[in-house]
Subunit: 256 residues, 6 copies
């Protein structure tokens, strides 16, 4: 059975590596993938050995966003809400994992792929990648709670600005606004990489403490409420005329 | 009748342009102007067509602050409180408008002009302008709630530092600390300007959602309480010996 | 009697200068020093003349952290909690002083020295110094509440990242992330120094207002709770095997 | 033109009396009534003479709830949301009026009538009336935000209990749980009535202060969010099979 | 295998009945019981059929508190913290179950038994039972977070008062202070009992909504922090001389 | 030297008894008394032996409120603010004492005397006394923050109602609304009194924990802000025409 998400537990480094594994689809997030990811994250919530979680994609892309075969333009509002809620639930669980999480963004990310990255505590980005909260271009908003999470990762003013502009940015730009903590050149992930090494050296207890300190610094209950509002707003826009037109145009452009 | 504030509703772009129109006074904010601005903002609160509001000034200045003919040094504490409250009320209404707001800072801003700009969601600044929260130089503080708003727009540490230093800064410096989201060269405002175009392209529903998300991210009740405290503190300093001396010195310097 | 902390009240400038005075120990914080500092801060809480407090060290260092003679590796958890609590108490009192406070970081700071600096409102740093939250290298965390305070001084994302990395940084890096508001070259502190002058010029009432505005912007009750959690977590890690090993290695390295 | 809501401004006592005036419909709340009530409350928000607002009904009932001709069982979810939102908006405005408000409950109240009463600061009840949050019996919940408001008026535990039980209670029971502040026998409202007299005697400034103190004691932003969630939940249940059946049964029972 | 906790899923009424089943020990909470209860609550969190959960005991007692064989006086602070944390975790999960929960208190409750009852949304009590937060008599405090929960169930003033007094109360007294919502005479639980019937009649969606409204009304993040503090305080008092003496006296009294 | 406030430290029971000692003035609170009380409370904040503080008055009255010789009708707004602030400061310190505090209300209390009682954690009242927040009758409001504290002691709805009504109530009524925890007949205070005995029996550590739990349950920062607003509102009403008339009438009535 081929899996759409791979989990590798590196016991030597007490690190879990979660890999989105649909490289031919640029790791687009299908309903099947969501289910598998959900189970893996549940397992990590119960895990008492792992001190670090890394989320990455099968190269060359990190994640192209929601798979349009599942999240397509014709579903109704109720159904859209139902589907968006599923992945919101996963992002919430990633956000509240008891150990630090790193989004190792090995390449391109768009839309929902950026939301997934925003659910991680830290983000390291490939210097050759391009990255964009492009939902705005399709007449919708972020829909899994990732826009809300972006507000926690960078200054709210910057988050609001990016979501409206919906533009694609470079690795260096991501570091400048604080979305990425580090930039790497396109080699393999190694645990002695200068960006990863400090995490590997810290103890289990240290890393759990720092994660707890990070979570306590946030108002998690309000965060959840705001993520809920985002899902509702997005499912509402899903059935708008503007969204349907934007999707049609998107396919027309891609056909040529 | 010539108006001190102009409202232009561009129905094509569903954009309202509010222009401070006392160019000979560098758009200083008089009591009469406050009243007109108040009515225009009330109208925009009820507006269900407009998706974007821009606030700007009749060139060359954006806004020189409070008009010293109305906000002069001899008024008592009770009276100062009463006058400051009027404009605080307008800044509060601008802050809570249901659509995104852009401060299109076409030129110089000082004191209260910066407070007005801080009430907008975004700020784009003319590269040749100079900008300063200069209230501190006159032995008072911001007095319309704009210092409190500054705390929401840039990192609180930066806000506190600027208010104490009370220095004048360039357009580039404003972008560096995140107060301005973009810098433009001194041409006319056009809706296909790269800074404005994304807003025009987004739908009414998208923009209202993002504004709502931005507001929900803030603790508005506490924001209002902090703005109230600012008005009280400023009206208290208004009648201090230090303020009276600073105003006298200011006029002496300007006479020469 | 020679004092480990000096208090100089400059009545001309209404400024209090608090100097850590154990230059031969790089101003390491002993229990005796804590007691003296505590009394001085209590005095400043009652002070109704002073408009500015500066905290600095007897050159060349600012503060090397906790004195290992008092905060050594062999004490038990209960005792560690008791000792850490003492200095946490002082940092809390510094944080809530009614006037602005400046950490004038005349040179090197490590570990607890950085926590002390984080309790100040502003930090100006010597361009030749090096600065690091290095607690993480010793298998513990910050333990006086200073990690929690760091979350308030720079973006939480940056704070979390620095605490995990536990690396040493330059003056310029501190300014880039907003931890330092200014960098000075290694001359004497003078009140007409461009970094200090604005503070000296402002009135007593202005400075107290701005400090109050700064404090009201924070959730102080939650801040205290988070500082308490930090003390507990650190005293828990204090007795871990990893900490004892790290301390042993530290001494081995330093012996050579 | 006969009005569905009457406004009487008693200038002697600086009191506004708002009367629901559809006695033949037991003052059921129709869309037309909502519109008139909305305008009256807007007027009272701007009023700077009135120190007290009383809301009552044309006898014998206080208010039977939403008028089933407008809020009927066949409307869809989107439409239900739209209609419920209208009255939620009015309840929010009543809640935040700047002067004390008294619900003078001259007789029976059910469902939405109780929600309206909950938006008032105080409630005085006719000893012969019966009162019930009976929405639960119809397989829905409160839908105008009034359930949320009930949580603020009595202990949350009691509110939760009443909403689930959906039972009808007597005047004395209302006083026991603190929902009513006083009980009157079924005579005319007079300003020298012992329950009203103290309000009439207090000054404008006193009453506005106490109202402000009452509002500041609540977290209004969170209150609004919770009211929004209530509207959404109710409009969702509106289209449930259980609701349609309950409505059908209700009419069947009433026919007999 | 005989179970210490029984789970009965009544599919007709969509109700789960959880029964503490150590009648010979007055249903005292042992470590083994905690483990079984934990698993059952986990199952109910995932359950999407059940609309109501009832927690009760095998008669005649509801629950005598922690089993002194496991929670005995000689364990150290670290160990006490570890054991208390286990049951706190279960109480937290009960508190946040997605459906309403009823503590059907069939008889006597003391100490930890009261904490368990406090984790339920509602409490109905046997008129012949006696009930007490008696922890205070043993020189400790509540230790599973139940004291914190009591603050949410009755007025904080009453909670504080009861915890200090540590007295035993009757069913009627419990109803007076609002801890119990209803009193029943000592017959069997039946679903057509007037206290239970309304819950059974409501729909799944209604009950989930009301539970969600109840939870949203609380600050769950702060609730968790306060529960954590309680566990720490209690484990600290566990090793005090006063506690050891009180336990010794308790056994002496019971021997006679 | 005869003192206006007596402090008796009962070392046997580890209890401090603070007695207002101006029986001929019904223990009215003068500026001199405030100063003495302030010093005593400061001492109790540092005290590490005392486990309980009781505040009472020299019989027959508990406290008649502010002494009109100091808090008289002719002082200006600024001065009123200054004087009110002094006692607010003391009430705040009492509220945040680290050990439980009991207001042993040996007799009549009015106005500011009720505010003082509200700053205590618990209140026991003499069955023959009468008690009233009567400030409203003098066209002002509570002015030391005691109205705000009342909101924490009883249900906010009840607090709002009492402050507007400004009526005098009996001991039994106080117990009914939860303002008093117990009623005693007019005998001497004894430590084996059933109301006091439980406190005396509990350990130092228990009582400090329960007090801490009580304080953590409140939002102290917001409490302080609300108390500040109360002082400002009251000092504003102090100079109103209505207040001056009410004071004049008060003296006229008392002359006869």
């Amino acid at each position: 059975m081929s899996d759409d998400v791979l989990l590798y537990l590196d016991q030597n480094n007490q690190t879990a590596i979660v890999t989105l594994n649909r490289p031919e689809k640029r790791n687009a997030i299908s309903l099947k993938l969501i289910e598998q990811l959900d189970q893996i994250i549940d397992q990590l919530h119960r895990d008492q050995q792992t001190k670090l979680v890394m989320i990455t994609g099968s190269s060359p892309a990190f994640c192209a966003g929601g798979d349009l075969n599942d999240f397509h333009g014709d579903i109704g509002q109720e159904e859209a809400h139902h589907l968006l809620k599923k992945m919101q639930n996963v992002l919430w669980k990633i956000t509240t994992l008891p150990m630090p999480t790193i989004g190792w963004m090995n390449g391109l990310a768009r839309g929902g792929g950026m939301e997934l990255a925003s659910a991680c505590d830290f983000r390291f980005v490939n210097e050759t990648g391009t990255y964009g909260f492009t939902q705005g271009q399709l007449a919708i908003s972020t829909g899994w709670g990732g826009g809300t999470l972006l507000y926690e990762r960078i200054h709210p003013q910057e988050a609001y600005y990016w979501l409206v502009n919906a533009d694609v940015r470079s690795a260096v730009q991501l570091k400048e606004i604080g979305f990425a903590q580090g930039v790497f050149s396109s080699e393999q992930l190694e645990f002695n990489h200068p960006l990863i090494e400090p995490y590997i050296k810290r103890s289990y207890e240290q890393l759990r403490h720092w994660k707890s300190q990070w979570l306590t610094n946030q108002d998690l209950q309000m965060l959840k409420i705001r993520m809920d509002k985002e899902v509702e707003a997005c499912s509402h826009m899903w059935v708008s005329r503007e969204h349907k037109e934007a999707v049609a145009n998107f396919f027309k452009r891609n056909e040529k």
